[in-house]
């Protein structure tokens, strides 16, 4: 693709472009290093997700099994009643950490109520409800960790995308363009020098003739 070069062929411009290409190269190298590190982090997290997900899902399935049993033994209405009465106080602690400028959440579920503080009344609830509750609490703990990992993966992927685009822009567009301009200026300056040289020769010849 022929692109018209719009730089002025002067020495000033040449010095400016040389500086710019050095800066772009440095920026490119640093960003690529960052990209490498981001990829490393991304795969680290993906590996962790893979190990964790099957565990969480298994726990959740166990919880559902316990709940089905509970629904069968205690009855749907009673179970829903127990759910309404239960204390809704499970919390999740969200704090942050940084992986190279990417803010990533840390989540930790907290279930602070003891068995006696679950809220639903005791006299008409069977142990099946307790079992189901316990299983779901465990599932919640495990799932919050999974949520943290997945969120980290999303954030990293986003940053990785951005960094990759910048590295590619620098590598394939910006640096080549500057290099091309540099070459153009060098050629143009050389050409001007040659022009000047012949001009001087010619003048010298004319002056010689006049003598």
């Amino acid at each position: 693709m022929a692109k018209i070069i719009t730089v002025a062929p002067t020495r000033m411009e040449l010095i400016k472009l040389r500086k710019r290409v050095a800066l772009a190269q440095k920026g490119h190298d640093l960003l690529r290093e960052k990209m490498d590190a981001l990829i490393l982090e991304f795969f680290n997290i993906l590996n962790k997700i893979n190990a964790h997900r099957s565990k969480s899902v298994e726990q959740l399935m166990n919880a559902h099994k316990a709940l089905s049993k509970c629904l069968a033994v205690v009855g749907t209405v009673e179970t829903i009643q127990a759910m309404r009465e239960s204390k809704r106080e499970s919390k999740v602690d969200v704090s942050t950490r940084f992986i190279m400028g990417v803010q990533v959440p840390i989540a930790e579920a907290k279930i602070e109520r003891g068995i006696l503080e679950r809220g639903y009344s005791f006299y008409n609830t069977a142990s099946a409800i307790d079992r189901a509750t316990k299983e779901f609490e465990l599932a919640l703990l495990s799932l919050s960790e999974l949520a943290e990992l997945e969120a980290a993966a999303y954030e990293l992927a986003h940053e990785l995308d951005k960094t990759k685009r910048r590295v590619n822009a620098l590598e394939f567009i910006i640096i080549p363009t500057i290099r091309k301009n540099l070459k153009f200026i060098v050629m143009r300056l050389d050409e001007m020098e040659r022009e000047n040289f012949t001009r001087l020769k010619r003048i010298k010849a004319i002056l010689e003739e006049r003598k």
């Binding site: 809704r88 999740v92 602690d93 599932a139």
Partner: protein, 112 residues
Amino acid sequence: MSYKIAAIGDLDTVVGFGLAGVAQTHVHRNADETVAKLTEIFSDPEIGLVLITHRVSEELKKEIRKLMSEKRHTLLVLRIPDKTGFTPKEDELKEIIKRTVGADIVLNKERS
């Protein structure tokens, strides 16, 4: 900072997490109702974790994606299977890996 948890999905999921002490629960019946509830939950500063079953998230893909793009930093969203273990074949994370890495990667299950 401590935040509350929300769960959205079928009745079993909601009852289960309700027993586990999740603060906000919603049983999915129709799209409009659930979207309204989701919007409410996403704009609630006290919520820190939202659990959505895959079935609901598949049904309301567009809306959830829109909400996700505008969410706060400290709000985590996780899609979970329901009691039948339903998970979609094309999951979001895989799509993202495909896009960013440029290849479909099958992660080694035995490792780590």
